[in-house]
Amino acid sequence: MSHSTVPRSRAEADTTEKTPVASGGATGPRKKRPPTGKLSFGLRFRRDRVLLLMTLPAVLLVLLFNYVPILGNVVAFQEYDPYISDNGIVSILNSPWVGLENFQRIFEDSAFWNAVQNTLVLFFLQLVLYFPIPILLALLINSVVRPRVRAISQAILYLPHFFSWVLVIAVFQQLFGGAGILSQLLRENGYDGLNIMTNPDTFAFLITAQSVWKDAGWGIIVFLAALASVNHDLYEAAAMDGAGRWRRMWHVTLPALRPVIALLLVLRVGDALTVGFEQILLQRDYVGPGAAEVLDTFVWWNGVRNQDFSYAAAAGLVKGVISLGLVLAANKVAHLMGEQGVYKK
C-alpha cells in the first residue's frame, strides 16, 4: 500500500515543478529539458522574448509596489522627520544620518524583546493548536458523502472568515466578557464571574481560539482540493488489501496531503512573526501591552502613533531579517524531509 502511494506524490511534485519552469521561459514539458545553461544569454533572450514580454507588466508591478518601497527602509538609519518638507524624498534627503543608533536602541529596548517573545509564543501556540485543525476538518468534510450535508457544513465553516475582526471580538466579548453571557450565567448560579477577555495569562489561548473560530474553516479549502485529487483507485486497492478506514487514511490520504502540508508549513513559518495585527491591536488595551504587544503592533505604535518612523522602520527591518532566516530554515527542513518546499535550487 505504502508502495502504491509513492508515485502518487511524485506526480504531485512534478506538476508543481512544471510551473516555475514554464514561466521561467523554458520550452515547456513536451521537449526534452533543454541544456539551458549552455545557451548564450542572447540566444535565450531571443528565444523567450515573447514570454518575457508577457511577464513584464507583472514584473513592473512587483518592482513598483514591492521593491521600490523597500528603498524607504533607509530611514531606519536616519532620524527621519517627514515634516521638514512637503515631499517625502526631500525629507529623506534632508534627515540626518544616525548610523545604527536606532538598531542599538531596539536591542536595548525591553519593550521590543517583550514583543518578540509574545510573537514567538503566539506563533508556536498557533502552530500547535491552530495549524492541524483545518487538516482535521478537511478530512472530516471529505468523509461526508451526501453532497447537501457537505455543502451546508462547508458554508457554515467558511462563514466566520467573512466577519471582520471587530465583529468577532465583539461577539467574543458579549459571550465571554466580564459582564458577558457566560459570566452572568455563572453569577446567577452562585459562582464568580470569569473575565476571560481581560486575563493576560490566557490571552494567547484566547487569540488562538478566535483565530480558529474565524479562519480554520476557510483554511480547509486547500486541503479539500488536495484531497479531491487523490486517485480513488488507491482507496479501492487499499481496501482490497484489507486496509481499514484508519489505515487508508494513514497510508493513502495523509501521504497525498503531505506536500501541501509541507508547503503551507513553510509559508506559515515565513509568516511566523506576523501573528494577526488587526486582531491583536483591537485587544491590546484589554490585557495591556505586556501580554498583547507583538512585533507588528510595536511597529505601529512607534511609527504611526508616535511618529518615531525611523525607530519603527528599524524594528520592521529586524523583523524582516528574522523572517527571512526562518523561511530559509523551514525550507531546508522541508527539503530534508524530501518535500518540495517553497523553492528548490
Partner: protein
C-alpha cells in the same frame, strides 16, 4: 472626557462632547490626553515657548463683546452661563456683512459620529452666511491621531487642518510649525479688529495658539477648571438612599455597598482621573502641565507620592470588584458608556463635563426618571481637593502654509462667524442650524429635529469658538449645574508653573513618557506591580527625564512661572 481622561472611552465621550448642540460648552470641555502636549522638532529653534514681550508683539488685541449679558458671570475661571430663556426673535447680528470672498476652502477635521452628506442644508446655509465655499473632509475623531501624522507628512495638506491638543503627540508639533501658516500678519495687534468676533476671544486662548514663535492656531477657548466630572445617577442615589461621597474611604464604602454583580450592577467605571484630582496630582492632560516648581525644585507628576497614591487607590477599586467589567477592557474599548449608565449597570463614572448635558438630553424622552448629576471633587482625606488647572484652549485650526492670502482671509471669515457669541444669529446658525429644518422652537426653547441631529454636528464649531460659554436653552438647570460646579471647583484650582504656555519639547524627549498612561492602566487593573511603576519612573529619569527637567528649568528661568 478628555480623551484620556476617563479611562473608559476615548471615542464616544468626545463624540458627545462635540455633538452637544451647545458646543460652546464644549469649549469648557476641551480636553486632552495624557500624551498631548508638545512634541518634537528637528531643529533647536523649534522647541521652547513664546511668552512675555515676544508674545505681546504677536498676540491679537482683545475687544470684549457684550451681546447678551450672561446670567452667571465667569468666576474662578468658569465659563459664562446662560440659564434664562433665549429671545430667539431678538437675536443680534455680529457679522453685518459677509467677509468671505467666495473662495473654496478645504478643511480636514476630526468628526465624532457619522458625517452628514457633503451637500446638506446646514453646510449650505453656513457657507451662504459666511460667503465661503467650505468643503469638509471629516475624519473619524477616534482614530484621528493615526491619520494626522500621515496626512501632514504628505504633500497634499488641506487648506485648513483642525488639530486637538491630545493629538499633538510625537512629531506633530514639529509638523504644525513646519506646515502651517503664520496668521500674525492678519491677526496680531489691531489687525484682528477686522474680525470682531475673533477679537473677543480671550488672550490666554490666543497665547496657546503660538507655535514656534508664530501665531498659527485659531483656538477653541475653554475654562481652565478641570473638566472631568464624576457623574452619578442622582435618581438611583435618592432611591437607594446613598450619600454622595466626600472622601476616598467613603467612596470605596459606597462602591462596595452599591455593587451587586449578580444583578448586573457595579458601582463605577475606571475612576483614575477622579483619583488624580482627589490626591492633588499635577495635571496629566498636557506634558508641560505635569511639571511644577515646588520649594525651588522642578518635579514631574509621575515622581510625586500623590501620583502613586492615586493609582494605588484606583487599583483598590478594581481589586474590590466594584468596577464594571467593561472598564477592564481599557481605553480602546471605546464603548459608549451612555446605554449602560442609563440601564443602571454602573452608577458613577468620570467623563468630560459636556456629557452632563448630552446624557440628559438623550434620556429626556424615553427615560424620564433618569437624572445625571456631577459630584463635587473631594480631597482624598475628606478635606478640600487640590486641583491643577488645565489649559485655556485645547483645539486649534491651522491654515496651510501654502495657502494664498485670499484663502487665509476666507478662513478668517469662517472663523469670525463660528466664533460669534451666544445670543447672535451666527451662534444660533453655527450651533443649531436653520430654524424649521434643523430645529423647531417650542415655548421659546429650540429643540433639534432629527435632521438637525444628523447635519448639525461637529464641523463648523471646530474652526474657532467664542469665549467659554455654557448655554443649554433646552435644559437650563444643567447649564446652571455645570457653571456652578466649575465655580466651586475653580476655587480649589491652582495653576502650575507652565500653565497656559504652548511648549514644544525637544524632539529627543517627545516620546519619553508615552508609555505611562498605558502603565497606569495596567497597574490599576492589577497587571503590573507598584515596583514596575517605580522602575519606569527611574528609567524615565535616566533616559532623559532629568535632562528634560533641566530643559524646563531653563525655560522657567527665561519665561517666569505661571504658577498661582
Amino acid at each position: 472626557m478628555t480623551p484620556n481622561a476617563a479611562s473608559a472611552s476615548f471615542g464616544p465621550s468626545r463624540r458627545s462632547f462635540l455633538a452637544s448642540s451647545a458646543v460652546a460648552a464644549a469649549a469648557v470641555a476641551g480636553g486632552m490626553p495624557l500624551l498631548a502636549a508638545c512634541g518634537g522638532s528637528d531643529s533647536g529653534s523649534r522647541d521652547g515657548t513664546t511668552s512675555g514681550k515676544d508674545a505681546k508683539k504677536i498676540l491679537p488685541a482683545y475687544v470684549a463683546s457684550n451681546v447678551v449679558t450672561p446670567d452667571i458671570p465667569s468666576k474662578n475661571g468658569s465659563a459664562v452661563g446662560f440659564t434664562s430663556k433665549l429671545d430667539l426673535a431678538g437675536l443680534k447680528t455680529s457679522v453685518p456683512e459677509k467677509l468671505g470672498k467666495g473662495g473654496k476652502v478645504t478643511v480636514m477635521s476630526p468628526f465624532w459620529g457619522s458625517p452628514p452628506k457633503a451637500d446638506n442644508a446646514y453646510y449650505k446655509a453656513m457657507n451662504d452666511l459666511i460667503g465661503v465655499d467650505v468643503v469638509w473632509q471629516n475624519q473619524d475623531g477616534n482614530t484621528y491621531d493615526q491619520k494626522l501624522g500621515a496626512v501632514l507628512a504628505s504633500s497634499d495638506v488641506p487648506d485648513v487642518v483642525v488639530v486637538p491638543g491630545w493629538n499633538m503627540t510625537g512629531k506633530i508639533p514639529s509638523a504644525i510649525i513646519g506646515k502651517f501658516a503664520d496668521l500674525g500678519p492678519y491677526l496680531s495687534g489691531d489687525a484682528v479688529k477686522d474680525y470682531p468676533n475673533l477679537a473677543a476671544i480671550p488672550t490666554d486662548a490666543w497665547q496657546r495658539s503660538i507655535f514656534g514663535g508664530k501665531l498659527r492656531g485659531l483656538p477653541m477657548p475653554s475654562s481652565y477648571v478641570p473638566n472631568n466630572v464624576p457623574f452619578y445617577r442622582q435618581d438611583i442615589f435618592e432611591k437607594e438612599g446613598y450619600e454622595v461621597p466626600t472622601s476616598c474611604d467613603e467612596f470605596l464604602a459606597l462602591a462596595k455597598e452599591a455593587t451587586n454583580a449578580k444583578a448586573k450592577r457595579w458601582a463605577c467605571l475606571d475612576m483614575k482621573w477622579t483619583a488624580f484630582y482627589a490626591f492633588g496630582v499635577l495635571s496629566g492632560e498636557e506634558k508641560s502641565l505635569g511639571w511644577h516648581e515646588a520649594d525651588g525644585k522642578l518635579v514631574n507628576r509621575i515622581e510625586t507620592d500623590e501620583y502613586l497614591e492615586a493609582l494605588e487607590w484606583t487599583r483598590k477599586l478594581f481589586a474590590a470588584g466594584v468596577v464594571h467589567p467593561d472598564a477592564e477592557l481599557g481605553k480602546s474599548a471605546a464603548q459608549d458608556a451612555g446605554p449602560k449608565f442609563a440601564a443602571g449597570e454602573f452608577i458613577i463614572y468620570t467623563q468630560d463635563m459636556s456629557q452632563w448635558w448630552s446624557r440628559t438630553a438623550e434620556q429626556a424622552t424615553q427615560n424620564p426618571d433618569f437624572k445625571i448629576w456631577g459630584m463635587d471633587l473631594f480631597g482624598h482625606d475628606g478635606g478640600d481637593p487640590t486641583l491643577w488647572a488645565k489649559n485655556p484652549a485645547t483645539i486649534f485650526a491651522f491654515v496651510n502654509k501654502k495657502a494664498s492670502e485670499s484663502v487665509i482671509r476666507d478662513v478668517l471669515a469662517v472663523a469670525n462667524v463660528t466664533a460669534a457669541p451666544y445670543g447672535t444669529k451666527e451662534y444660533m446658525m453655527t450651533n443649531y442650524g436653520v430654524e424649521g429644518t434643523h430645529y423647531t422652537v417650542k415655548d421659546g426653547v429650540p429643540a433639534k429635529t432629527d435632521q438637525g441631529n444628523i447635519d448639525v454636528m461637529n464641523a463648523y464649531v471646530m474652526i474657532a469658538s467664542p469665549a467659554a460659554t455654557i448655554a443649554h436653552p433646552d435644559f437650563p438647570e444643567v447649564a446652571k449645574g455645570q457653571v456652578e460646579w466649575q465655580q466651586r471647583m475653580g476655587a480649589f484650582t491652582k495653576k502650575s508653573s507652565f500653565y497656559g504656555m504652548q511648549i514644544v519639547e525637544p524632539s529627543r524627549y517627545t516620546n519619553l513618557s508615552n508609555d505611562f498612561e498605558q502603565l497606569e492602566d495596567d497597574f490599576v487593573r492589577g497587571r503590573k506591580k507598584m515596583s514596575d511603576v517605580q522602575q519606569a519612573v527611574s528609567e524615565w529619569r535616566s533616559k532623559g527625564g532629568d535632562k528634560l527637567r533641566d530643559w524646563y528649568k531653563k525655560l522657567l528661568d527665561e519665561n517666569g512661572s505661571a504658577a498661582s
